[in-house]
Symmetry: C2
Subunit: 140 residues, 2 copies
DNA sequence: ATAGACCTTGACGTTGACGTCAAGGCAAGC
DNA sequence: GCTTGCCTTGACGTCAACGTCAAGGTCTAT
């Protein structure tokens, strides 16, 4: 499997795969003509990286999992370092959730405050205003 | 008030204030010697920017608020554009919270799975293993 | 008069995960 | 033999919000 095939199968680009290699995450055999050759193991490795990225891992965070697979383990999280990384990322995600929730509350508060100060020309507001006008100056 | 004073009062750096100016967010009077001169209005503006940033606004997102203040309104969110930005950011924050919660669930699932597969050398495990050893080879 | 603390503009560096070219080599079909 | 489509390396570009440094001007205190 050449780099274009792997990229297509993994739904990514050749540039990304070469970048992974430059970061020491992916390795490749070389054909006599210098082309990179990949097997199923590399495909699984790329998918592991993608899956971890999708749950908020940086490329560097995926390193323990890649190392784990490389040392022959069936799953990337069959190693202590991977478990530790899971724990650390979970803590990070929790911290992020807290900060984001606080930001959300703050934002909701500001929005409602601003809306209260400035009733804004919404339909309901218009109709209420119109009715008040009618009451003050009823049509003959 | 010169740029260093404003930076100190706002708890930021002169570089940041000049950057705001380069982005059209902050304006300054100039002393005869070319130094920037700021008043209380600029101080409030910087604080508004900082507050919005702290709840997840990009600098560009703060622009409507800055414009609103500049057009004479008391509060930065006394304008329709600011309200609209509030709404948009709230939607963004909500989307982010959803993605993060999903990532968290995924992470928790993976962690528990991995722990189940690999009981890991925790103290309890060690003690259980030791006891099993004792039972199989009791001391005389 | 000189040191020190401020200020000016300008320009390059940082971080992450690639995108986008450029210049050239290899292989297959017409 | 020529086009087409893949591949190679290398190097610069992207985005945000500044940090950091350079070279120089200004003001105050000693």
């Amino acid at each position: 499997m050449r780099i274009g095939d792997l990229a297509k199968r993994a739904g990514t680009t050749t540039r990304t795969l070469r970048f992974y290699e430059s970061q020491g995450l992916l390795s490749a055999q070389r054909s006599p003509n210098g082309y990179r050759e990949y097997g199923e193991e590399e495909f699984r490795l790329v998918r592991e990286i993608q899956m971890l990225q999708s749950i908020g891992f940086s490329l560097d965070d995926t390193r323990p999992f890649v190392e784990c697979l490389r040392t022959g383990h069936e799953s990337g999280d069959d190693c202590a370092d991977s478990i530790e990384t899971y724990r650390r990322k979970l803590a990070e995600v929790d911290a992020c959730l807290e900060r984001l929730s606080a930001a959300r509350e703050s934002l909701v508060g500001k929005l409602t405050e601003a809306l209260a100060r400035q009733p804004s020309p919404c339909e309901v507001g218009d109709r209420i205003a119109a009715r008040l006008d009618d009451e003050r100056a009823p049509q003959p």
